[in-house]
Amino acid sequence: MTALATIRDLTVTYRRDGSEVTALKGVNLDIVAGERLAIIGESGSGKSTLALAVAGLLPASARIEGHIDWFMPPTLGAKAPPSVLPDISPSRGEIGSSTVGSSPTASVIGESGDEGAISPLEGEMSGRTEGGAVERQPFHRSGVPLHGRDIGFVFQDPSASLDPVMTIGKQIAEVARTHLGLTWSQSYARAKSLLERVRLPDPDSALRAFPHQLSGGQKQRVAIAAAIAAGPKVLIADEATSALDTIVQAEIVALIRRLVTEDGMTLLFISHDIALAAELAERVAVFRHGQLVELGMTAQIVGAPAQPYTRALLNAHIGLDTRPLLDRAGLHA
Amino acid sequence: MSALRRFLRTPEAVAGAILLAVLIAMALSASLLFPGDPQAIAGPALLPPFQDWSLPLGTDRLGRDVLAELFHGARTSLAVGLAAAAAALVVGAVVGTLAGFAGGLVDEVLMRITDAFQTVPSFLLALAFVSVVGPSLGVVAIALGTWTGPARVARAEVLSIRERDYVAGARVIGMHPLAIAFREVLPNALPPVLAMSSVIVAAAILTEAALSFLGLGDPNRVTWGGMISEGRAVLRTAPFLSIVPGIALVLTVLGVYLAGEGIVETTAVRRGLS
């Protein structure tokens, strides 16, 4: 397997009104290049904090310990102007390109992933001393990918993540222009083709539309188009379908699956819904109270969970084939 | 406790609080330190400050003790300013809540009345009221021009709150509409209204001073505006008679404003985090 990123001893603490809340405690997790990884948990599990930490979007007030090391190939280097490149260190780029050739093997499950991760981690140590002088905090991200260019992020509420007074076309084109160094007309052409890819009806008029003119599902399609506009290697969807109804949710999940497959992106799908995540992901990581409870291939997590908490989550799922509670309560006439 | 600590960490707020504390101490100790009538003659006329230590700030044209007048004037400024601001906030919050919550015709009528008051400059309104009714109702005169701001802010807040689930919840359990307006909606609409209080108190103190300056204040009480007005006649020969109460006025308004902003800031931080 090829680790795209290794997360080691990641602890995130929020300071709030004098007291401290630990959102993540000593998390170790490898993200495999090209995989669809689901992060599952209930409220307070730290799943959204993990998503933000991976994307480098944690608020400045958060205290971060541990490290996230990236092995990201500089695929976009050719397209990008030199001005946006420097934050990928050349040495990191080399490690990335040397490992990107081998395709991820789906049979390796998370637990054994630690061994595979040792060598890049050792190589990482030298890089850590270089960077250590720069950052005062013990936390350290090497070969830091750039949010927007290397990582696309889709939030739960598209009305909050889209600018209400900017046209859809401009919001997507801006991402492409900033990160790919395209001209405005090239960026708009790219925006239009992206709107076609996310299957927005009538992309031409949608380019000139404002977010409030679209439905919730359409807005989320636009948010996805903006997230993938710069051709990121990683797509993070944080509860991206939770505010949508079931039918639209299924459409958006299908869209994410198609885009990730077509572009060879790595997907981090953050969700509270284990059934939904299991339909989409190859691997599932179950979080609770800021800790990683269980990690494994989807079929193993769903079919033969090792941890009681995972079993409890699965048992709590109420599907279309679950025995009705009414029968158990003896109420059904 | 932590709110107090946060308040004390802002230097402007601390400065404001100290100024206000001094002012309040002056107002409270006025009759202890300077018993008797501050308008009585205490010594020779137009004694400059720092000459006679029994009259540290000197005397005015009629030989009255300036320091005693300053202390007693603090009382008037504070009492009238706070009372007028409180009246303006209460009237504004009630009118705004009723208008926003009832909607329809009630809203139209109340807001057109608000418009009418708002289009007349508040100082002119106070001036006209005092010249008709007399200086004893100065508090009402000042409140008359300042309640419209709180009313508008309260109404805007109520319009958003009345669509919330908990207002629907209160209707579902059968609560009377007036109880919903004043028990459920108004308390939650208050923070932005109270945020205006520092500006309103400061403005009320200034308006009171201006009315007194024009001779429309209560003639039986010492006021800083009246002192400035008195000193104006001898501005060239004894400028301190205008400067001393002038500085007191500036420091008071500054203190009220800084302390008020400090409180708003602290509570806003707390609300933002919860």
């Binding site: 409220s43 949710q249 409890a312 989550l313 109420i318 | -």
Partner: protein
């Protein structure tokens, strides 16, 4: 005799010069002690129906009969008094309570308003209500925002049953809860229904939950009734297009094992 009979209910909105029927000629009934579910995609009118039935908004057309009375004819004090019999639980229990309230105040209000208990008796009634929904009486002095989401929804249910209603409208009442809490709340609702013979109008987008706890279901599409019948019959073999789409979109957990 139906507890609630809704006939030809219609509610129109004007948006951008066009009139849209959010609820279009909808009729249904709820029998005492049963659960009727309203399901449909967003914009299908299910939440509008909930608000119409509770008279939080007024319909443009149609009739609502509740406990054999013309519910739409009730005014002011008569309507407020009758509200004791028709309660509601909201989706987001944090938004459903005054942010300044304590648990005790939230439960005190209905007891006071409907004269159910004297001032001296109320603390005991509040404690009993809290225990009825699986909470402890020492929760009473706590502020609403201090307690957990699951506890808050239990308090919301306690408030709804305080006035001994015959019907409770549950508007996505379990949708925002964590799955582990959701099961417990559903069990509580079923237990209350069995003990107190309360009927539920259960609004949800989740067909799995509906199939689990509802007796009958109405599927709505664009403000109209698309399909209705026995909950399991309809969901196991939907006939309408919207029913088929909803069933196809529901996530499935294949627990066969690797």
């Amino acid at each position: 005799m139906s507890l609630l009979a809704v006939s030809n209910l219609t509610k129109r909105y004007r948006r951008g010069g066009k009139t849209i029927a959010a609820v279009d000629d909808v009729s249904f009934h709820v029998d005492p002690g049963e659960t009727l579910a309203l399901a449909g995609p967003s914009g299908s009118g299910k939440s509008t129906i909930a608000r119409l039935v509770l008279r939080l908004i007024e319909p443009d057309d149609g009739r609502i009969e509740f406990e054999s009375d013309d519910f739409l004819a009730l005014r002011r004090a008569a309507l407020r008094a009758r509200r004791a019999r028709l309660q509601m639980v909201f989706q987001d229990p944090l938004a459903a309570f005054n942010p300044r309230a304590t648990v005790a105040r939230v439960l005190d209000d209905p007891l006071r308003i409907h004269g159910i208990a004297s001032r001296a008796e109320r603390p005991r009634r509040i404690a009993a209500l809290l225990e009825r929904v699986g909470l402890t009486a020492d929760l009473a002095p706590r502020a609403i925002h201090e307690i957990s989401g699951g506890q808050r929804q239990r308090v919301a249910i306690a408030r709804a049953i305080a006035t001994k209603p015959s019907l409770i409208v549950l508007d996505e009442a379990v949708s925002a809860l964590d799955v582990s809490v959701r099961g417990e709340i559903l069990e509580l609702l079923l237990d209350l229904q069995r003990q107190e013979k309360i009927a539920y109008l259960f609004i949800s987008h989740d067909l799995g939950v509906i199939r689990s706890i509802a007796h009958r279901v109405i599927l709505l599409d664009a403000g109209r009734v698309a399909e209705n019948g026995d909950a399991r019959t309809v969901i196991d073999a939907p006939q309408s297009a919207i029913g088929k789409a909803l069933v196809a979109a529901a996530p499935r957990l294949n627990r066969a094992g690797p």
